[in-house]
Symmetry: C2
Subunit: 198 residues, 2 copies
């Protein structure tokens, strides 16, 4: 399994890449302990995108298992979860961080996954896209028996990754989550990368 | 606590109603065993609406408790959960049913909560709104320790209700979920009502 192209995503930033249907790619946590907000849009109609709420019904789970797919808001498989070379801790409950969240936490002009998504999509000619609820790779959110959510630091080590395969011509966006006001990234956001695989 | 106005929602249908900020209303399961897909839009800008993904972070729970609020996609409280006169079983994980879901289940031209929402909002002059992930009142979806979701019939009895209070001028939409191909409504969709309270 060779790497055709590597897209480096600096800490606190995001990148978008066109990925044709049937292609495999990995999302790698370079230094460990870093959450990735992942989004996937249908390339020829960005109003269709991977949807957490529709995926949960599709797989009858909070998060797909390897072998299962993420589906769009029109209930079409868009990403197949091929392989998980990580502790297997991921979240699909939480909205992307945005400027409003940081302002509520007391931080003005803070980088956010929502702004990273907007910039990355604008760079590909798609301004003003919706901000879907992301696929939060490596994010450590536990559901307690009483329905409470408890947050912890991402348990990944350097080089941990997931491998996905596009089932539609897609635009994939990965944001190295800039959250440094709680422990999810160990208070230390770090870089990630996307590898397009052969 | 008197009833100022009652909006009857026939089985399988939906209704929208303008509700000024600071108003209380109840959503009543008339015959029992019926799921209600509830939506709330900001009256003067319907691109802002109650958001499941943002609410989960706001309350650090899968579903608010009485005394807590549902917030919008701009992280503003829009509905306060005042009182729960029901078994307390509600869902905020599942997308609204739509035509595509029923087609995948083998049913053409089936009523859906998404279409009910669209019609009700169009009647108030708002065609083409987003279909937010709904607040699924009385819907029985359990999260198992391994992340699996298991579905059961709504446990409500005739007259069970929740009481909410608007925190912004809102358009509230309630759909009596027409799902009759699984057990969530006991295979028998029934009517609901909204009561505007003094």
């Amino acid at each position: 399994m060779g790497v055709l192209e590597t897209i480096h995503v600096p800490a606190r930033e995001g990148r978008a890449v066109q990925v044709p249907a049937g292609s495999r790619f990995s999302v790698v946590d370079e230094e460990g302990g870093q959450v990735v907000d992942l989004f996937a849009f249908v390339a020829d109609d960005v109003s269709e995108y991977a949807s957490a709420a529709h995926t949960r019904i599709w797989v009858d789970r909070l998060f797909p298992r390897p072998g299962q797919s993420f589906v769009t808001n029109r209930r079409r498989p868009i990403l197949r979860f091929e392989q998980d070379d990580s502790p297997g801790v991921h979240d699909m409950l939480c909205a992307a961080c945005d400027e409003i969240r940081y302002r509520l936490l007391g931080a003005e002009d803070h980088a956010s996954c929502a702004a990273n998504l907007g910039r990355a999509m604008t760079a590909l000619g798609h301004p003003d896209v919706d901000v879907p609820q992301p696929i939060n790779l490596f994010m450590n959110v536990r559901v307690e028996p009483d329905g409470a959510l408890t947050w912890g630091p991402a348990p990944t080590r350097a080089g941990d990754r997931v491998i996905l395969r596009t089932e539609l011509d897609s635009i994939v966006v990965a944001s190295a989550c800039p959250q440094d006001l709680n422990e999810i990234n160990h208070f230390r956001p770090t870089p990630i990368r996307i590898e397009l695989l052969d």
